[in-house]
Amino acid sequence: MPRVLITGTAARRFTGGQTEVAVEADTVRRMIAELERRFPGLGHQIDEGMAVAIDGEIFQDAYQTPLSPDSEVVLIPKIGGG
């Protein structure tokens, strides 16, 4: 199962301090839905203000991005720019 790592406080407050979660999901959309089911509010938090780094590559607002069983997913704040 993909591993979701939560390094920052923005997401960790929903998981009760848990920093790593295994999630049964094969797309980012399904991962977000599963995280929302297990940690109410976290899915919404990801939708509104977070990006995901999948195996080191950053994706923003990308529901259909596939996850492999050994994917490492890191939740980070959404990135803007100047």
């Binding site: 390094t7 406080t9 407050r13 080191g56 590559e57 950053i58 990135i79 803007g80 720019g81 100047g82």
Partner: protein, 653 residues
């Protein structure tokens, strides 16, 4: 708050001074706080009664000027700190600075009797202008047409609106077109700036130079409302290094200043001034060459960043190694001269982009895109389309279209356009190639699969396809009406996997000990650019970013009087570097192609502003032995530091 606009309308410039004289405004001076750390104190005047610090547990019950606290951790900092044989703890600060675009904010808005609104303004995103106006004034997006004017500089400061919604409301009310133009003083008082802040850095290393623990605390000014780039500041400051134990804490702090706006790699230059200055101080303490210290601690593919991701396809170490072997480092320095090294990181982003590729009747090609060109991106679009089509670059004309003429495109920012919009343009051109092959097949009356496209011409794919003279794009375009109609394609995408930007800079300075003036003698900026689509424009981006960073380092700051009033709202008193201040900045491009992009492009516009502040500070320390930990390192500040170093001269001397 100072800088907040009080709108008033006027029918003509001639009548306006008289009208303005008739308006009386009374201001009550309330308790206020300007400094970021003063604003964090428990007894500070509270700006918002309903602002409670996010990110702390338990949830606070009293309001605070600290809008948000963010943390990132890796390993066990306390354990790592104990392992360290050499430690260093330093505090650095920087002031608010303006993005410094030459063109002030301006717009014209006309609302017709039918309720259709047209906005002419220059910004970093016409779709952004449309969205803000629609949201603020409750108008359907389809009833607003935002026209992108040429932009005279943005650098992040034009990623939001100031004038357009006001002009739109006034036009709606008056039934006449409305023009609003800011003067320079209004630009300084009412727009931008970039955040200033405080950066506390701890580095712990083994005697051999291997860094085992790092801590970074970032306190950023948000202005009057929350929203400083504290997250990126925290994530970028130490991203260049492979450090096992890291603790990062950031605070987003409101104070009685204008609300901050984005500025080139928002937040990264701030924290990196602290971390890269501290790296230099550590190198000196360890007596290790600063390039070598960076090389031995460099993040590589497979390194886990403190904010979580495991790096892949990164070119940081290549920038360090290229700097290490650059002839610049072999040049001998003279009296009062010094050399500084600093590195930097910026994420770069992708996002939503649309593009269209139209083949015109004469075989020329129009590329339509939705991103204002702030750094030469149109040229890159034309080059990528020409490459995909196999035709000369000068046969392609790129156009930045209004919001009714091209699909949605996220604004121009985050160094995203050549990457993301370039991807959309390339895909649109590739779709056109598929169509061109179909049209050639129709002319030859063979199957489209039997046609191949090469160097801008259709060829039969092999002897079995038949014997035909090649058909050029121009010949196919001429017969488009007979083979199915106009040839064009549109593509809308959400581009992902932008690929990060990495840089290592070398700066030589000479310090005038009499005046505190710092002259930049030589500057070399090495950067991982992915694949440079238009090398001289990439070079221009690097030189521009470095120049702004040098200004931030040496002179730029918002200066307030004791009552909280801005004292230098103009270019005479807000000193930005000009061409005569600087040597030719040498840009060295390291190409680690981005596999996500058809031509390997990565964003290039932001990371060059990240290292210069520390590079200059490190060079000044090398030249004088004085460590400047507070920006700007302007002549009065450096002169004061020199005075402390050496006793003031006697009047008789």
């Amino acid at each position: 708050m100072t800088g907040t606009r009080s709108p008033r309308s006027r029918r003509s410039r001639r009548r306006s001074p008289k009208a303005a004289d008739l308006i009386e405004v009374e201001y009550e001076v309330l308790p206020h706080v300007i400094d970021v750390e003063e604003a964090m104190k428990p007894n500070a005047p509270i700006l918002h009664d309903d602002l409670f610090t996010q990110g702390v547990d338990p949830k606070p019950t009293a309001p605070s000027n600290v809008a948000k606290r963010v943390t990132f951790t890796k390993g066990d900092f306390a354990a790592g700190w104990k392992e360290a044989e050499v430690t260093i703890e330093r505090r650095y600060t920087s002031k608010a600075v303006h993005q410094g675009y030459i063109e002030p904010h301006a717009c014209v808005v006309a609302v017709g009797n039918d309720g259709q609104c047209t906005i002419w303004s220059s910004s970093q995103g016409q779709f952004m202008v449309r969205a803000y106006c629609a949201k603020l004034l409750n108008i359907d997006l389809a009833n607003i047409r935002a026209m992108p004017a040429e932009i005279g500089g943005g650098f992040g400061g034009k990623t939001l609106v100031y004038l357009e919604p006001v002009a739109l409301a006034l036009s709606k009310k008056s039934g006449r077109p409305v023009k609003i133009v800011m003067n320079r003083e209004e630009v300084f008082r009412g727009t931008g700036p970039a955040a200033g802040g405080v950066y506390e850095v701890k580095l712990g290393a083994k005697k051999n130079g291997r860094i085992v623990a790092a801590e970074l605390v970032v306190k950023l000014q948000a202005g009057a409302f929350p929203g400083s780039p504290v997250g990126p500041a925290c994530m970028c400051g130490l991203a260049m290094y492979d450090i096992p134990h890291v603790n990062i804490v950031g605070y987003d702090v409101v104070s009685n200043r204008p609300k901050v706006a984005a500025y080139r790699a928002p937040g990264a230059p701030n924290s990196t001034f602290g971390t890269e200055s501290c790296m230099d101080e550590l190198a000196r303490k360890l007596n290790i060459d600063p390039v070598r210290l960076r090389e031995m601690n460099a993040a590589k593919d497979g390194t886990k960043a403190a904010h979580g991701p495991t790096w892949t396809n990164i070119g940081y170490l290549q920038t360090v190694e290229t700097a290490k072997n650059h002839p610049h480092l072999k040049v001998k320095l003279g009296k009062n001269q010094g050399r500084g090294i600093a590195s930097g990181f910026w994420f770069n982003i992708g996002g939503e982009s649309s593009a269209a590729c139209h083949v015109n009747e004469d075989g020329s090609v129009t590329i339509v895109e939705g991103n204002p060109d702030i750094g030469g991106s149109r040229a890159s679009m034309a080059m990528m389309a020409a490459e995909a089509l196999g035709i000369p670059y000068d046969k392609v004309r790129p156009v930045v279209a209004d919001t009714s003429s091209v699909g949605f495109s996220f604004l121009t920012g985050g160094s995203r356009v050549t990457f993301a919009t370039g991807m959309a343009v390339t895909q649109a051109a590739e779709k056109v190639v598929v169509e061109l092959k179909k049209r050639a097949a129709a002319i030859w009356d063979i199957s489209p699969e039997a046609v191949e496209w090469k160097d801008g011409k259709a060829y039969p794919a092999g002897p079995n396809a038949g014997s035909f003279e090649p058909l050029s794009l121009q010949e196919i375009a001429l017969k488009a009406g007979r083979t199915g109609g106009p040839i064009s394609a549109e593509v809308s995408i959400n581009a992902q996997g932008a690929g990060a930007g990495w840089a290592t800079h070398i700066c030589d300075v000479e310090v005038d000990r009499e005046t505190g003036y710092v002259k930049i003698l030589r500057y070399t900026a090495v950067q991982d650019v992915g694949r440079a689509i238009h090398p001289s424009y990439v070079e221009g981006q690097i030189q521009g970013g470095v120049t702004q960073g040098i200004g931030w380092a040496l002179n730029e700051e918002y200066i307030y009087d004791k009552d909280g009033r801005l004292e230098n709202p103009g270019y005479l008193d807000y000193r930005m570097p000009v061409a005569s201040d600087l040597p030719m900045i040498e840009a060295v491009m390291v190409e680690v192609p981005n596999p996500r992009h058809p031509f390997g492009a990565k964003g290039v516009g932001e990371v060059p502003i990240v290292p210069p502040m520390a590079a200059v500070a490190n060079a000044i320390a090398d030249a004088t032995g004085i460590r400047m930990r507070n920006l700007p390192m302007s002549p009065p500040h450096l002169r004061a530091a020199l005075d402390e170093q050496e006793p003031p001269r006697q009047a008789a001397e």
